[in-house]
């Protein structure tokens, strides 16, 4: 209950700051030197935040579709042999540094949102894939047996039984992936994508700590709120199928 109130307060604070950043200027003044501006105004913070979120949403959506698809594929009899390959691909996606992906993608795609999307997409695959795999491999055997025994086709079993039961764990994977992407997206600004990274980089270049802090704070707050939001949805789905008793 108290946790909810704090979260609601944080959300209000965030919205207020994004809508009227100047009214919070006094907070950031102590971080500035030589009368530098306390609030970043080159581009509106709200517009940067929205485009930051848009990039993350788009990349996460693509990661989710591909990773869940891969997870489903390698748990079907016909796709089992692709399991090691899928593991390798998603692990490389996670271990290959996003900065390097940007560097490689810019010559091909030019500056802007494209390279950032690719980097976030690759980086986000692994948690979703691993969770999908774990969830689909650990479904209650008696339920799957019953579904088969009742005459559901493979497709019906997947859509009506396996995926709904795997949903809470898959969502947990998406949550991790989204939160990682939120932070990672900031580096997109090095290749001219519109993200909150722009504020941080501007702060670094002009030695203005206020910019760095406000960029970081916004990203951090959004991450916390999204993390909590996902957890609520996961709990609701898990509770519905009796995997979690009411607290």
């Amino acid at each position: 209950m108290i946790a909810r109130l704090i979260l609601a307060a944080l959300a209000c604070l965030l919205v207020a700051f994004l809508l009227t950043p100047q009214s919070f200027a006094w907070l950031f003044v102590p971080l500035t030197k030589n009368g530098a501006p306390p609030i970043y105004t080159q581009t509106g913070l709200l517009s940067l935040t929205l485009s930051h979120l848009g990039l993350v949403a788009l990349a996460s959506l693509a990661s989710t579709i591909v990773a869940v698809g891969l997870g489903v594929l390698v748990t079907r009899p016909a796709g089992r042999e692709f399991l090691p390959l899928a593991r390798t691909i998603t692990s490389i996606g996670q271990t290959f540094p996003p900065v390097a992906v940007l560097a490689l993608a810019v010559p091909a795609m030019g500056f802007g949102a494209g390279p950032t999307l690719v980097a976030l997409f690759l980086y986000g695959l692994l948690p979703i894939f691993e969770n999908t795999l774990t969830a689909l491999q650990n479904l209650p055997p008696s339920v799957i047996e019953a579904a088969r025994g009742m005459g559901l086709t493979r497709r019906q079993r997947l859509l009506q039984v396996e995926l709904p039961l795997a949903l809470p764990v898959i969502l947990a994977g998406v949550r991790l992936s989204v939160v990682i992407s939120l932070a990672t997206a900031t580096i997109g600004s090095t290749v001219a994508a519109h993200t909150l990274g722009e504020v941080i980089i501007a702060g670094l270049l002009s030695a203005n700590t206020a910019f760095v802090v406000q960029g970081g704070l916004i990203v951090g707050l959004i991450a916390v709120l999204i993390y909590e939001g996902f957890q609520q949805v996961e709990k609701a789905t898990a509770r519905r199928i009796g995997q979690m008793q009411q607290e």
């Binding site: 339920v143 579904a147 088969r148 005459g151 519905r240």
Partner: protein, 308 residues
Amino acid sequence: MIRIENLSKTYGDTTVVQPVSLTIEKGHIAALVGTSGSGKTTLLRMINRLVEPSSGKVWIGDEDAATIAPHLLRRRIGYAIQGHGLFPHRTLAQNIAMVPQLLGWKPRDISDRVDELLTLFQLDPARFRDRMPHQLSGGQQQRVGVARALAARPEVLLMDEPFGALDPVIRAKAQDDLRDIQRQLGTTLVIVTHDMEEAVTLGDRIAVMDKGVLLQYGPPTEILTHPATPFVEALIGKAERPFRLLSLSHIGDIAVPGEAEGPALPRDTSARDALAQCLWLGRDRLAVQGGGVVTLEALRTRAKGDGA
């Protein structure tokens, strides 16, 4: 009717079910018993093709099961397993409605059928229809599992240790209910069990398996009085044999004219319970409702398997 002809299953080079042939008459109950790993589940699952037979045939009525697509075959055959296998993300009504839905029943007919089954299994539809499986007791979940298997009025019902996880009191109740419902619907039932007691009380025929071989297939009395091999004899438990035989008859069938003191017992009391009463009360005859008595002498004869 189910006819099994030379049905066998081989994994690699181990044969887990040696060729088995047996017939289960329409409306009868066949109980499959045997030690763990003897191939009961495998035999059962070959009937609805959850396991593809290595050789042999299964006839459901006069249709060769191998000629029906597996998922269509399974929609015609009820299947209930230990641990019930209810879909945890669906309400009880949705669970029961599954196969009728697959078969394309009208929504109206489905919801009528759901209520009918819930009532049949003593679960008030108004209270239980929209509950989730995890909100039920183990015994209730098991009942819904059986109700779900019966939803589309299958001619044949397969059950694999359906009552294995229930406590003895609830289990006895579940067995009684199952027997009543099966009689009422005329379903042909094959039930796998570890429990000889359950096989004797439920089965019209008992099939005894050991190491993939069908050792004996016959009515309970025959299995009890004329076990085909020492293994069968050991499985039925020599010490329990007289009581099992007694549990097969009702006192109404062995009553003789006469008078006895004390309250009269219902005619469908098992001979076993009557014996217990005689011993406990120290009497040698008990009154039977509707006239007549059951004597200790008659019980003794029954316990030896005579006159069955």
